[in-house]
């Protein structure tokens, strides 16, 4: 089973667990399995259409899945998946 590392802001939705073992053949399936175990994560990770939110970065090691095969990126039993929240902001409201 692969391991998903939960970022600090989302640990309140996983009973403070940092690392969760999940099944699944690709990233989307692994994330779906994570959400089935911890449903409160859903609004933070998925769009209404079930796709991974744009504001959420998913990494395998130091590689962004956008540089691999996105949510179709294959997952092995020893894959370590990191959920990385987008951190941004700024003083002005002007886009």
């Amino acid at each position: 089973m692969a391991t998903i590392i939960i970022p600090t802001p989302l640990r309140k939705f996983t009973n403070q667990q940092t690392r969760i073992k999940v099944g699944g053949e690709n990233i989307q399936q692994s994330i779906n399995e994570l959400i089935s175990e911890f449903p409160d994560l859903k609004k933070n990770l998925l769009e209404d259409n079930g796709k991974i939110r744009n504001y959420v970065n998913i990494f395998i090691g130091n590689k962004d899945i956008r540089d691999l095969s996105n949510e179709h990126t294959l997952v092995e039993h020893d894959t370590v998946i990191s959920i990385v929240p987008a951190i941004a902001g700024g003083s002005s409201n002007q886009l």
Binding site: I87, A88, G89, N93, Q94
Partner: protein, 161 residues
């Protein structure tokens, strides 16, 4: 409630003034217990925004991953983010709110020109709105905690200090 030592506060202000007129950013590491946070260390990271860094900041995913790992290695918690608002008040903008994460403290340091103005901390509530979080500046951490009445010598949280 968030405790900042005088040393950490000065480090933050120095970072902000050195970085002026651009926004600077980084992470706040420390301990939390009973809704009280004590910041023990800051991690300065590069503002990775590719637009106007005088009005925007962004932290790269790799810097985020590194900071989580660093906090874990040191036995600390990643408790929040700091960033500066050059020539703007230390109040979150709508852009700050839209991009904010739950749980994190958002410490904002304001300058007027290249002079320190104000510092405030904010946290998102359940309705995705920021609420101010009181900052307490401490000179002697343990004495201050004892004065606050929530801790005593047998409390492991206080013993850290």
């Amino acid at each position: 409630m968030i405790y900042l030592s005088q040393k950490i506060k000065i480090e933050l202000i120095n970072e902000v003034l050195v970085g002026y007129p651009y926004e600077v950013c980084g992470f706040l590491l420390g301990y939390e217990k009973r809704e009280v946070r004590i910041i023990d260390e800051i991690l300065v990271v590069k503002n990775a925004n590719i637009g106007d860094q005088r009005r925007r900041f962004e932290i790269s995913p790799l810097d985020y991953l590194h900071s989580e790992a660093e906090a874990e290695r040191k036995g600390l918690q990643l408790l929040g983010i700091y960033h500066s608002h050059p020539d703007h008040p230390s109040i979150p903008s709508e852009i700050d709110r839209l991009a904010a994460q739950p749980y994190f403290s958002y410490v904002i340091i304001s300058t007027k020109s290249d002079v320190f103005n104000t510092i405030q901390s904010w946290r998102m509530n359940e309705n995705a709105q920021f609420e101010e979080e009181k900052i307490i500046t401490i000179h002697n951490k343990l004495n201050n905690l004892k004065q606050h009445g929530n801790y005593h010598h047998s409390d492991t949280f206080a013993q850290v200090y």
